[in-house]
Structure formats: C-alpha cells, structure tokens
Amino acid sequence: MPDLDPTSLLVLVPALPLAGAVVTVLLGRLLGRHAHWPALLSIGAAAVVAVSLLVGLAREVLVTESTTHGPAAITAYERIVPLWQWASVSDAYAPAAGTPAAAAGEDLAARAADRPNSLPLTLGVDLRFDPLTAVMLAVITCVGLLVAVYSIGYMHGDPGYPRFFALVAAFVFSMSMLVAASNFLLVYVFWEAVGACSYLLIGFWFSKPEAARAAKKAFLVNRVGDFGLAVAVFLLWMTYGTLNFHDTTLVDTAPLPGILGQLRLADASAVVGGAVGTAICLLLLLAACGKSAQLPLHVWLPDAMEGPTPASALIHAATMVTAGIYLIARCAPLFVGCPGALTAVSVVGATTALVAALIGTMQNDLKRVLAYSTISQLGYMFASLGTGTLLGFTAAIFHLVTHAFFKALLFLGAGSVMHSMGGVIDMRRFGGLRRIMPVTAATFLVGSLALAGVAPFAGFFSKDEILATLHAKGWPDAHGTHGSGHHADGHAGGGSSPYRLASVTPTAAEIAAGRPLPETVGLDALDAPGTWRVLFWMSLVTAGLTAFYTFRAVFMTFTGPTRVPDEAGHHAHESPPVMTLPLVILAVASAVAGWWLFATHLLADFLAKTPSLATPVIAATAAPHAFHWDLAIQGSLAAAFGIVVAAFGHLGRRSDGPQMERFLGPLGTLFANRFYLDQIEAALVVRPLQVLAGLAAAFDRYAIDGLVDFVGRIPVALGAIVRRSQSGLLQRYAVGGALGALLLIAALWWRLTG
C-alpha cells in the first residue's frame, strides 16, 4: 500500500470504537447476550486499520532510510489530520474601529493590544500520525480486541454485560485519541477521558462498596496528576504561545512553530530550559506519575483491581497506565533541555520499580501481585526515559510494547483462575491448578518467564536495553569506547560519550557565535554518573525481585497439591476457548515479539523517525545496535536467583504458609503493609484537608452566617426603639416633617454656597 493515505484512515481508529460504544449504549438492552458484537467488530476493524497503517508507515519510513544514507536519513515523519476547530479566541482587546469605545479609549486599547498577554487561543481537534502514534495505536487496538474477545467468556451472564462492552469501546476510543492527539489540550481532554472510563470500569460492580471507593480513589489520585498536567499546559501556552505539537500557519502571518514541531526541534535552543522548562517538565512528570501509578501517586492502581479483570488487563496493565510513558516520550525534546527534570524521571521510576517490587513479594492476592508488578515495570520504563538518550526512549517504548503483551496475558490468566475459582483470588486458598487448567497454566508460565526477563522471552530483551541505557549513563567511559564509531555527530566534544547530551551544552565555538549557555537549575546537579550508578543497581535488584514474586505466584497458584476453594464448587474447570484463545495468542506474542523486535531492530529504527525523537539533541545520542553480553548475564543471574529463591520457598508446597513473612520479620510486615504508604498519604493529605473542610464549614455557619443573622437583627432592634416615635400624634409627625424639610434645605444651601 504505497499510496496509503493515512489522513482518511487514521480517523477510523478512534471513530470505529466510538461508534461501537454509541451503538452498544443505544441497543444494549435489545442485543442482550449479543451486546459484545458492536464493540468487538468495531475494535477489531480499528485494529485492522491500525496495524495496516503501522505496516504501511514502517515500510515507507524504513524503506526510505535504506535507500538514502548519511545525515539525510535522519528525517522525521509526521502527518497532521485536522478535524474541526474546537475554540478560537483571537487576539487582544481591540474595539472595532468606528465604535464610540474605540474613539474614546483608543490609546488605552492600543496599549492593551501591545502587551505580551495578547496570546491567541486557537485550538483545533487535530490528529497526528507518526511512528510513536502508530505503535501505540496498534498496541491499544490489538490488546483491546483480545480483551474484548476474552470478555465474552469472562463477563458472560453479568447483568451489566452491554455496559461493560460500551465502556471498553469508549476506552479504546479515548485512548486512541490520546495517542493520536496533536495538541496538549486534546491530550489533556483524553487524558481525563481515559480516566473517566477507568473510573466507570473500576466501579463497574458499583454495588460493592470497595469497588465504588476504589473508583473514586482512582479518579481523585489521577486528578492530582491532572492538576500537574493542567498547570503544565498553561505554562506551555504562556511560554510557547501555542499548544500544538505541530507547526501551523496562521492566516496572513508567519508560520507558528509548534511546541514539538519540526521548526522548533531543528534548533535545540528554541526549547525553553532553565527554571520554567524544569517546572513544566516536573509538572508533566507529576501528571505521568498519576496516570502511570508512580510514587507517590501509585496508591490507586492496586485498589483498581476491584474492577473486572479484563478491564484491569486492558486499562490498568497494558494501555492506559502507559499514557505517562507516552507523554514523556512525546515531550522528549522538552525534557532533554532540562537535565535535572530528566534525571528526576529516572529517580522516580527506579525508586517506584524497587518499592513496588518489594511490596509485590508479600502480596497474597494474585491480581495485586500483578498490580504491583505493573507499577514496578512502569517504573522501569520511567527509569529508561529519564536517561534522555535515543536508546532510553526507544527501550522504554519497546518495554511498553512487550509489557503490554505479557502483562495483559498474566492478567487475563489471573482472570481465568478467578473465573474458575468462583471469584477467589487469594493465592493461599488454592494451589496445583496446572492439572485443572493446563492452558491457563502454560500461558501464565510463558507470561511469567517474559516478565521475569528470562531469555529468550520478550521481557528479557526490553529489560536488557533498559539496563544497558542506565549502565551507559553510569559508566559513560565504558560505553564511549564501544559506541562511538557509528554515528557522525560533530559536536560531541572530545572524548565524551555519545550518551552525553552534547548539544545541550554549547561548544566553545557556539558560545563564540553567540549561543548563550543554557540556564541551569539546582536540580540539574542530580544528573551525575553517581546517581545513574545507584539507579542501575536498583534496577538490577528489581530484576531479581521481579523474578522472585512472579515465580512465587506461579508456584503458589499452579504447583503443589491441587486445592480448590469452596466457592468454586464442583465446577472448577479450564476456561472456555473464547477465553483461552486470547491467552494463547498473547503467549505467542510474549514469547517471540521481544526476540524479533530486538534482532531486527525494527522498532527502534522506526521510533527514531518520530519527530520528538529525531531532534538533533536526541538523535546525537544514537548508539550502535548492540547486544550487551555483560549486562544480559547480570540480568539473567538476578532473574535466576529470584526464581531459585521462589522455588525454594514455594515450589510444590502448600501455598498457605507464611514462609516469607517469617523469613523477613519486620521488613516483611513493612512490605506486606505496602510501606504504609496509603496510611501516610491519608494522614498527610486527606486528613488535614478534611479537618480544614470541617473548620471551613463551621466558620461558614457560625462566623459568616452568624454575622449575617446578627446584622439582620439590627433593624429589628432599631425598630423596637424607633417604634416609640410612632406615637400616632399628628402634630409630632408634622413637626418631624418640618424638621426634615429644614434639614434638606440646609443641606442644599450648604452645597450651593460651599
């Protein structure tokens, strides 16, 4: 399809699921047991479109590269699809000529027009298509389709069956729009829209108080992140005068460079750094922390497991929670200008990865193990993004893709177990299920191997790249030697590694030519090799812990004597084919995708053509495609160690013993109680606000309204006094009237003479 015009087709990817959602809402009751068809067909069609667009674009972009060589090959690809004008508030106050207001206040109005606060707000509903968007769309729609198929079995017989599929389709629509949006406003819009879908899906079984509470918590914690995104959007608008990613041309004016447009990205100094840039990036990071459940805003994700398991798989594992990674990757040019904020991304990510993995080791609820695992793996991606190198960004997206497959697989597997166990998901209450549900067990094992990073499963390769990129930042010299030959970047400075953000710091020649030194902030000191070494070791430890908790779950669930809880009754069985088929497909993807994408390097080369990642600053950090034997061995050893410890503790045993708790003592209590983070945040944020609210209400009632009532009583009291004057004696009134008239005349006299 060389002549494929994405302009027309791209719109279908979000539009079809939207139509599916609307049809399901309208006809849900009518369709009854068949209510899954609109969602299924529309998401399926969207997946076909998204994949063919991806393939078409990949051919176009990668073929172009193979035919042209040298710097010209580093070109970015983007297409903009404008849909409609959302709002347009044009320039400053300027009264229309000829009106009296214009005549009278001309100079004032002219001064107002001159001021810098005359920013036009022109916002369009514009979609974009570029490699990053293409990859995200394919992942969203493919996982969405598999989850929809699986849900036919899982949600069978639920009274809210149509509602579930309507929400899933609405989510796929929102998420597609989020990654296809081409301005920050639209990103914010769908950032919240996916949050709303998540809210409604977590609270799907709204009669359960825990589900209702978890839904509210998820929305509110996300709102805190949205606060960051909102303020960041405002600051971006102030700073850049537009919210568009792409360059636009206003009517009869010069082109307006978009924030992430090619005009701006060609020149690193056109990206605002310093205090303002860092503030913007930290606010974006806050937003990403909310949506991607990073410390300290991760608390909503484990609770979100109250929702139906397929929703957890789709939204809270594979797609929505990766929106934060998408956002930071998309805003990569903004981040690389602010080394401090960039390093903060890694610090948050690696810390979250470690903390969540530690908590994961002590959870007994299978879905919660996976939830903490998701938080931890997202932390990995953050750690990778924060390195600011091309490899860092592509590795994060690589891990995002592989994680989407294997984590969706694990969640759907857990759902299959839950389905069979009559809703019980506490791993201490069942065991040895591999005999009852062989397909689930086998596919779950594949997913676990991928998650644990065992070669050659998917997670191994993406994790290896993340470790490599962190390692390169911590030990730049070691990598500088074997990474310098490939790329032809001029100003990388003598001896410094290609991983260094060479072009952010101007060279002596550039300073002489008038390029100013970038403004720095205190946070930038964080970007030191020492920091990166710590982060690398944290990530390596996390790799071991990941393998441990994953296989602890595998062993507890699928090995040992077969035990089934009472709730399952006599019908503990393998799930129907409609549920196991998606498991098998995802298992195949988890097994081969990593190896294939790594060996061919297709994904990384493709992503490098995204405008945000093709900027000179980031492109300059391109490293040769290499397999790092040393790191692979370290990572594999960590994983092997984790699996061995898990096997030692749990393989073939009854799974209800408190082995780990005994072994770890007080630390175990700390982990099992999730570091008491929920309680700490409740005590530090929620409680004080509630107290403040109580005080405000009391103040409102007694102080403000009390004062009003007091004032209200004054006329009554006065009336009681004045009443005495109402004696009914006519002459008194006459005298009073005369006095009043005199007073008026006196006042007039005084006014006229004085």
């Binding site: 508030v89 400053a92 206040g105 606060n117 079984w205 009669s207 949205d226 405002f234 809703g423």
Partner: protein, 586 residues
C-alpha cells in the same frame, strides 16, 4: 439562505416581545384553567414553556443569522414609557452578545423547571405554575432590557415570584429561607439601584442629556468617565462598590453567599433550577453590562481583589461542600465554588478568561440545574436528601444514576463536556494574566490565586465523586417507597460471593426481592423527567464538543464589554511598574 428564519411581517422586535409575553399569556391561561385541576394546569404550563422555548430558539437562530455589530442590539424595540420633561425612561428591549445565551438558557431551564415540578407540586398548583411562568418572563426581561430602569424593574421582579415559590412550596424552613433570600438580595440590590441612578445623574450633569439607555450611557461615559480621584470624591469607586453590593450578593461571591445554601435547600426543585441556573447569573451579567464597560478605572482597582475572592471562593466553597451531608446543600455549595470560577475569569480581564467566564455562566446553569433537578428526583423517590441515608440508587434507577454521573462529570469539568471548556479558558486566562499581565509586585499573588483555581478542580471532583459514591453506588440503603427492609439485608449477602456473587448489578438487585412479599421496584426516570433532563444533556455535550458554536457569536460583544477595563488595568499595572518582560519564544 436563512431567509426562512425571518418571514416578512414578523419583525425580530415583535418576535422578542412575543417571547417575553408568551409566559405571561401562559400564566393567564393556567389561571383560567384552575377549575380543571392539576393536569390541565401543568399541561398548560408545559405547553407555554415549550412554546416559549421554541420561539426563543427561533429568535436565537435569527440572531445568529444576522448578528448585530458591537454596540448595537438585535431585535431592538424602543418606546417611551415614563417620559416627561427631561425624564426619559423607555421600554427598550433587545438582545446582544452579552445577553444572547442567558436569554436562551432562561427559556430552556423554564421547561426543565416545569417538568421537574410535574409530580412534586400537587398543593395549589395554579399559584405555583403561574409564579413559575411569571418568573420566566422576568428572567427573559432582565436579559432583554436595554434601559437602566427597565433592567432594574425586571431584576427586582425576579425576586417576588421566587420569594413566594420558596416561601409557600418550600421545605421545612421555607419561611426563614424565603425571608433571608429576599431581604439579603433586596438590601444589596437597593444599593445597586442607587449606584445606577448616580451613573445616570453624573452622565446627565456632564453631557446635559438625561438618558437611561444602557448603551447610550456606556458610550457617553467613555467620554465623561466618573471621577476616579480624590478631587472627585472617588465617585467611580463608590458607584462600583454600590453596584458590587447587589451583584456580589446575587452571584454570590464569598463571603456574602450564606443566603444561597439555605434558599436552595428549602426551595422546591423548580425554584432551585431557576435560581441556580439563571438568577445567580444576573449578578455576573450585571458586572459585564454595567461595571466593566461603565466603570473601567474602578474595575481595574477592584479586579485583583475580586479575582482573589473568586479564587478563594472556589476553594472555600469546595471545602465546605466536602463536609455536607445534605445532598442539596452539597450541590448548593458546589454552586458557590463554581461561581468563583466565573468571578475569577471575569476579573482576570484577559480575552480568554472573560470569554470563558461568559461561557461558564451557561455551563454552570446547565450543570447545576441538572444536578438540582436530579436531587429533586431522588428526594421524590426516597424522601430524604441525607447522603448517609441514601445508597445504591444506581441499582434501582440506572438511568437516573447515569444522568447524575453525566451532570457530575460536567460539573467537575470533565473534558468533552461543557464545564471543562469554561474552566479551562478561565484558568488559562488567569495564568496568562499572572504570567505576563501584572506588575511584578502582584505576580506572586496572581500565580497563587490561579493555582488555587486549579486546586479547586481536584477538590471539586472530591466532593462530587464522594456524593456519587455514597448516593448512587454501594448497597441499597433506603428502600424506595416503603418497600420492606429485608431487601437491604438480601443485597448485603451478595458482597462476599466472589466473581459471580460479586457481579451485583441492576438486574440482581431487581430480582433480589423475588420470593419475598414485594419485589424491589425499579424507579427509573419517568417521561417528564427525561423531558426535564434530556435538553440539558444535549447542550452539555454540544458545548463540550464544539464550544466554538457558542463562543464565536458572542465574542465581539463580550470583548467590547471588557476592553476598557482591561486597558485601565494595564495602565494601572504600568503605573505600578513597567510590565514584566517574560521570555517568550514566538
């Protein structure tokens, strides 16, 4: 192309008069039908409200087809009224960009007000519907008036029907609420009246022409502004404060808001709908119509304080809402909080913020009217508004719950719905003001207040979603219409039952009563409740998805209203210190 909108022989002016007269005619008809009892009365009221809405919608379309230039009015009609000697009060009506949407909203919400009262009002329905229709005429008149005295007459006239609506058809403390509402707003608006008279007299003394025409005054005052110096007795500031007294109470701006929760809680649902949806907006409309264009220098002085009061009001109202246990009181405090956004946007005095504030008037009108209507529907079903006593409404009335969630999302500014557009524009404009539009001495204050506004977005979600969680979700707490208590116990048993046991949905609960003496009845939206909510929902979506439809036509007028104040503000900030030069990359 749009000729069919304006048939010959039906001038826009007579069309406008017809729209305002229609509810009054309907009121007479309803009164004549009093002997036929409740059904006839409410049907005639519904027909009147719908016909008025249709006529108003048609008029709005005519406006959009041929929008008037700034400073001129559409469908202008002008006749002598109280005219003698130099005194020239005129019956002058017309629409412009400032009034267009509020005029339309008044007609829209009146339909909602009638339909939410359908079942609720059985006691003395004639009086109720007559007053409701008179109130509609008064609301339409306020926004169409182009004469100061006529405006004030309509302005006060909105008080009277609502006073009786609250005082007679309200809840337990209705008398106290009605009295407080009436006295509080009247006291404020008398000062407003004095202020308006001073404007007229000042203008007469300067230009030699006694005019009560609002546009004429605005134009004339641009040449002869009220004195804003010690020599002139700070007359402009004094007049500004006098107008503020009435408008601030009406909005209401914290701290003169305490009449509002009481009035709302006690008012019948129909009254609440009109009160929250339209009457609060008259205060903001007054600022836009009088204070900003006529008193720009005083507005510039007061703007930072009102901006701050608006921002603090957002947080304050949200915090107080957070601890309310009466659902209606919670929604009332959410109104206090949300009107803070409008005040904030108005006095940020940037184009984006002011236009956002103007749109937010409509948005809040839709969302709060919808929420009050829904609270009324919940009260009719369960006879309580106490949040702790409610629960699991979604199981019994799924569509009611869905609408509640929709209007909640609109209220908390979920993108794609209308509330977001206004909030976003107001906050963007506020940040713009804070970033590069104030003297450095004010910058920290403005930034802090803007951040308060954004924090309100988080708090707003908190109390609304808490209410949604407690009222709509969870196990059923209050059985509808005296159904046996045993059902609640029956549902409780589901919670612990794993996946399929856990799939407690509407169907389960509906069936939970089988085998008992009476099944838990579904009590979802009736047709008249749909009629009340559906039109609002349409606009909630429309404004959210294509706000340009609603922003563009009124933009010139809103812009013109704020221009002089913005310029005066800029001059004042320049006088304080040269404008901050913030690095901006084009």
């Amino acid at each position: 192309m749009t000729d069919f909108l304006s048939p010959t022989g039906f001038s826009a002016a007579s069309h406008l008069v017809l729209v305002i007269a229609a509810p009054l005619v309907g009121a007479v008809v309803a009164w004549l039908l009093r002997a036929r009892g409740l059904p006839a009365v409410r049907q005639s009221a519904a027909v009147t409200a719908i016909v008025t809405l249709a006529l108003a919608a048609w008029l709005v379309l005519r406006f959009l087809a041929a929008p008037p230039p700034p400073g001129a009015a559409f469908a202008a009609i002008d006749a002598p009224w109280l005219t003698g000697g130099v005194f020239d009060v005129r019956l002058s009506l017309g629409l412009d960009g400032l009034s267009l949407w509020m005029f339309g909203l008044s007609a829209l919400l009146s339909v909602t007000a009638v339909f939410v009262s359908w079942q609720a009002i059985t006691d003395r329905p004639v009086g109720f519907y007559v007053l409701l229709l008179v109130l509609e005429a008064a609301m339409l008149g306020v926004f169409a008036a182009r004469d100061v005295i006529l405006f004030y007459v309509f302005f006060e006239f909105t008080l009277v029907p609502l006073f009786f609506l609250i005082g007679i058809w309200g809840h337990e403390e209705r008398r106290k609420a009605a009295a407080k509402f009436f006295v509080y707003t009247l006291a404020g608006s008398l000062l407003t009246f004095l202020g308006l008279l001073v404007i007229v007299l000042w203008n007469a003394s300067q230009s030699g022409v006694v005019t009560f025409d609002i546009q004429g005054l605005t134009d004339s005052l641009a040449a002869h502004p009220l004195p804003m110096s010690a020599a002139g007795g700070w007359l402009q500031m004094v007049v500004f404060l006098a107008l503020l007294a009435g408008f601030a109470v009406k909005v209401p701006i914290v701290p003169v808001h305490t009449w509002l929760p009481l009035a709302h809680v006690e008012a019948p649902t129909g009254g609440s709908v009109d009160l929250a949806g339209v009457l609060l907006k008259i205060g903001i409309y007054g600022f836009l119509r009088f204070s900003l264009p006529m008193l720009p220098e005083a507005t510039a002085v007061a703007a930072p304080w009102l901006f701050g009061l608006g921002a603090l009001g957002i947080v304050y109202g949200a915090l107080v809402a957070l601890v309310q246990t009466d659902l209606k009181r919670l929604v009332a405090y959410s109104s206090v909080s949300h009107m803070g956004y409008v005040v904030m946007g108005l006095f940020a005095l940037t184009p984006v913020a002011v236009e956002g504030a103007n749109l937010q008037l409509v948005n809040h009108g839709l969302a709060s009217a919808g929420l009050f209507a829904l609270v009324g529907m919940i009260y009719e079903r369960f006879h309580t508004r106490s949040i702790p006593n409610l629960g699991g409404v979604a199981a019994k009335a799924p569509w009611l719950a869905a609408m509640f969630v929709l209007f909640t999302f609109s209220s908390i500014g979920l993108p794609g719905l209308n509330g977001f557009v206004g909030e976003f524009m107001i906050l963007a404009g506020s940040f713009q003001r804070a970033w590069s539009g104030v003297a450095p001495a004010w910058q920290t204050f403005y930034l802090a207040m803007s951040l308060c506004g954004v924090a309100g977005v988080v708090l707003g979600a908190w109390y609304m979603l808490w209410a949604v969680e407690r009222v709509l979700f969870g196990p059923s707490r209050e059985p509808p219409r005296g159904a046996a208590q045993s059902h609640a116990v029956g549902h409780g048993g589901h919670a612990s039952h794993g996946v399929h046991g856990g799939h407690v949905g509407p169907g389960d609960l509906a069936h939970a009563g089988h085998g008992h003496e009476a099944p838990v009845e579904r009590c979802d939206l009736a047709w008249h409740e749909w009629a009340a909510l559906a039109p609002l929902a349409v606009f909630v979506l429309w404004i959210g998805l294509v706000p340009a439809t609603f922003l563009a036509p009124v933009s010139p007028a809103v812009r013109a209203a704020a221009t002089d104040s913005a310029a005066a503000f800029a001059a004042r900030m320049d006088a304080l210190q040269p404008p901050a030069q913030v690095a901006r990359i084009p």
